[in-house]
């Protein structure tokens, strides 16, 4: 096949909503875009273990500790799964990690916010995972096969996390004054950053158009954000939490909740590295990656010796 014929075949696959598989020919720009998005997603899962891990030793009950440990394990598992799926695009995991450490690969800005009280664990499950699900449900239809299949599996677990997070918030809102204050404090700090997780408004997002054309992205940032807002505002009301937005109002005509202006300066400031925890998240990852170097070397040395033994036998 000539290059032109390959491109025609690729475009027709996309057009017919067929999946692109690892061995299929794909334009270099498509490969790069999917790889960027998948590694960013994998890194987000792994870096996301840190803010939640911050409370695993202080979880208030045996049940809460079990749920949180299992949840963090799920996130790590998603990271592992996504790294493997991303490797089908021709980059190995160690290179992806190197790029994360060098700042060439990103992770979701949301994990640069600190977890300051136990309700933050509830807020992360309910709001952060809740926002992630809306995005990931849409990505189940993404055009790259391994990514789409990863999303199907990941969505099942994320919806558990979202319910578990909401349960923490609901319990705390039924609790003591101090617990209710913690829950509202967490809501106040996580609401806006969760809305920012969908990325800049469509008119300002330079990745959107190209990604939509290739069906990597299936819904626009603003549409997904609206879906999340409509779903979540009602849930907040049910348990007595106040949404920290004085301009929030329900539009009867459109049947949608309308929010006030998002502070995109804050978003870009955190993306640029100035959030409360950017430095800590990356330096933590680098520190423990380096501390584990001797373990990885021992694994290789042991495997090598075993291979030699087998060959000589």
């Amino acid at each position: 096949m000539t290059e032109e014929e390959k491109l025609i075949r690729f475009n027709s696959l996309i057009e017919q909503d067929e999946k692109i598989e690892p061995k299929d020919w794909m334009p270099e720009a498509y490969r790069k875009t999917v790889l960027r998005q998948m590694t960013q997603h994998a890194h987000s899962e792994v870096i996301g273990m840190q803010p939640e891990g911050n409370w695993v030793l202080r979880a208030p009950t045996l049940r809460a500790k079990k749920i949180l440990l299992a949840k963090i394990q799920d996130e790590g598992g998603h990271g592992l799964y996504l790294y493997s799926a991303a490797e089908t695009l021709g980059m190995d995991r160690s290179t992806m990690i190197q790029q994360l450490h060098e700042g060439k690969a990103k992770y979701s800005h949301i994990f640069n916010y600190p977890t300051l009280n136990w309700a933050d664990i509830g807020a992360i499950g309910w709001l952060v995972d809740g926002a992630a699900i809306v995005n990931q449900v849409s990505l189940q239809r993404t055009s790259y096969g391994p990514y789409a299949r990863a999303m199907v599996r990941i969505c099942k677990e994320e919806s558990f996390h979202q319910r578990q997070g909401y349960e923490i918030m609901a319990h705390m809102m039924e609790g003591t004054k101090a617990q209710r204050e913690m829950a509202q404090d967490a809501m106040n700090r996580w609401w806006w950053p969760s809305l920012m997780m969908f990325g800049p408004s469509d008119k300002d997002s330079w990745h959107t158009q190209e990604s939509m054309h290739w069906k990597i992205k299936r819904s626009s940032n603003d549409d997904l954000r609206q879906k999340f807002i409509d779903k979540t505002v009602d849930q907040a009301y049910v348990i007595g939490l106040t949404v920290p937005d004085k301009d929030l109002k329900f539009n009867e005509a459109t049947s949608h909740w309308e929010i006030g202006a998002i502070n995109w300066d804050e978003f870009w400031n955190v993306v640029k590295g100035n959030g409360l925890c950017n430095h800590k998240r990356i330096s933590h990852h680098i520190q423990f990656h380096n501390l584990g170097k001797w373990v990885r070397e021992a694994i290789m040395a042991y495997a090598e010796k075993n291979n030699q033994l087998q060959t000589s036998n």
Partner: protein
Amino acid sequence: MTTNEALFNFSLRIADDNLVLAQRLAEWCSRGPILEEDLAITNISLDLLGEAEDFYEYAASLGDEKKSADDLAFLRSEREYFNHLLVEQPNGDFACTMMKQMLYAGYAKHFYEALLNSKDETLGALANKGLKEVKYHFRHSSEWIIRFGKGTEESQLKCNKAIEELWRFTDDLFEMNATDKILMTQGISCSLMEIHPLWKAEISHVLDEAGIAIPEVNNAIKGGINGLHTEHLGQLLCEMQYLQRAHPGAKW
């Protein structure tokens, strides 16, 4: 001490071992040498947490006061904890954590096996459940010790340091007190003296294969089952019990 009180103390001891070690392993969360191992360690932590919960619930059902499993875990101080000294020791590096895990899982394996014949049905059933898990924990940690022993000079050195650091806490695993005496006469628990050589043979086998010598030291430290601990336990509990202590009576 009545049989019931002894059974209560005995269940607490097992629960405390599981919880304290689970807490230590959870410290590895997001700190593993490779992502796969990060998940494995927290998974083992989760197993132990489940075992702890089962034994606390059993203890709670035996106690006179109306205390829940969470009350027993989060509202007792270090002098009221009966776990062995080994499990409360800091993680150290990955070799140290795996050595501790191998030494403890090897003990738990033989201990649970002996408890399968307990005249107390619940204890036997819980031991049966725990046994399936600790067998895997033992295999997992043993494989790491062998890998390290035969890996690089550095990994071997770290393994040797780990056994030198931890060996002094191993006699403590086989200590017995009045609780054991009462339960042994009733056929509820087992003699730990009988388990000791079985454990020693099994862990020696792993260490031999790894090329690591058991240190010849005579500095055994004991006290865990009588509520005498190293200073590390208080710090661990302080962090673990923070929310329950700061908000008495709150439901979570």
